[in-house]
Subunit: 248 residues, 2 copies
């Protein structure tokens, strides 16, 4: 699901901005110029989305690790009452009463203390014995995962994510550029580019709707296709219009 | 925090791609061309990031609502044992034992059933009486929020988010373009553009590190500044190099 999400992000931006830029540059007449500007933007965009996205995820992960250390030490320092209040702060809004929240706190505390302190003594829960060596049980992961809504992203995922978004951008962005490799007059190439990219935008929009499962059946696919086409068309139209207005 | 996140996303992309594009087009000599291409890309990029982002968030929210209906009806149809298994599936990995998970399930079920069915009868928990009219308590929100990690985004947020990202992109992208409005020779303007944008990238990178709170003190700010500068520089260098190579 995350790889799919990254592909969608990359393709969405890649099918829109490069298409609009080539449309805008077409207004100046020469396909050669469109290709030069288009390829420059493609490489730049892929680097920005890819590496930029990688750095952003890396910063988020560093932030998670910092928060984890910070939370774990706070948990060790706190007394039962303080932890009960925190757990109730997380579970209360969802409908759990204080007594049940206290039971949850006790359970989490048993596991956390067992995991954090000595590794050899038996714990009060027989089940948690198998979990004792896992670093992902106890109050700290509970507060992080359910309280803050944060989870750790494995390093491998960071690289895969960056590559996926960057590649998605490249693939999406090369499509509108293709006619310009073969047709010298930019305004003619633009026509083919619009037809080709328009088709891809419609298909991609429908597939996007299917993937995210908006769950509205055929109507959802149609809206997905049309909205995606409209965004691309609006961007291209605006770019063409601006250049024509400034140039003419 | 979310507005901040959107500004960072918009500014990051806006400071990188338009800068790289103007660098690439500079290789062709005329500032006028750089301005035309740059503005076309700016408008296109802002539309893509802004409206595209809006549609993406809207699709996510529609998906959440669909999942909510689906989950709520499944909860009403299920027996206690099935719900206990689901709740244990969410709480077990974090260290909660089955007995405590069953207590949590019972509590959530009481609230959900009270909320879903008749509005007038008294519930077993006196505390949940005040929560009874809220739509955000019970098994359904528990399974969605803690099981799937999903929450509903208010419509107002969707619009604010789209505007913020789009504006961030525009502001970030106009900065590298400024020298080209005043200096006719693109390669000279490029020099000023690099200095100006390089400075902004460094400052923005440090501020980003501060905001995301990587928590590494001065070293974190330096790495934030340098990494942001490097990504922008790499994109610009690649764009300039590609155009120079293809053109020359
Ligand atoms: Co972008
Ligand atoms: Zn205390
Ligand atoms: Zn326990
Ligand atoms: Zn889903
Ligand atoms: Zn059953
Ligand atoms: Zn209860
Ligand atoms: Zn934080």
């Amino acid at each position: 699901p995350d790889v799919v999400r990254d592909v969608v992000i990359g393709l969405s931006d890649g099918l829109t901005v490069p298409f609009a830029l080539t449309a805008g540059l077409s207004s100046l007449g020469e396909s050669k110029l469109v290709v030069l500007g288009g390829i420059a933007e493609l490489i730049a965009g892929a680097i920005s989305m890819g590496i930029g996205g990688f750095l952003a995820s890396q910063a988020e992960r560093d932030h998670y690790r910092y928060l984890k250390k910070h939370t774990a030490s706070r948990v060790l320092r706190s007394c039962q009452g303080e932890m009960e209040r925190e757990v109730f702060g997380v579970l209360g809004p969802i409908g759990i009463d204080e007594t049940t929240a206290q039971a949850v706190t006790k359970c989490l505390r048993d596991v956390e203390v067992d995991t954090g302190m000595d590794g050899g003594s038996s714990s009060s829960d027989t089940e948690s014995a198998s979990l004792r060596w896992s670093k992902d049980v106890g109050l700290t992961p509970f507060l992080l995962k359910f309280g803050e809504g944060m989870e750790e992203v494995p390093t491998k995922r960071l690289y895969i994510s960056a590559l996926t978004i960057g590649l998605g951008y490249l693939i999406g962005g090369i499509i509108p550029l293709i006619p310009y490799f073969f047709i010298k007059r930019a305004k003619v190439a633009l026509l083919y580019s619009c037809i080709l990219t328009g088709l891809v935008l419609l298909i991609f929009g429908a597939v996007k709707a299917r993937i995210t499962g908006a769950g509205a059946g055929a109507g959802g696919y149609v809206w997905g296709a049309i909205s995606t086409l409209l965004v691309g068309g609006a961007a291209a139209g605006a770019a063409y219009g601006i250049v024509a207005a400034l140039e003419g």
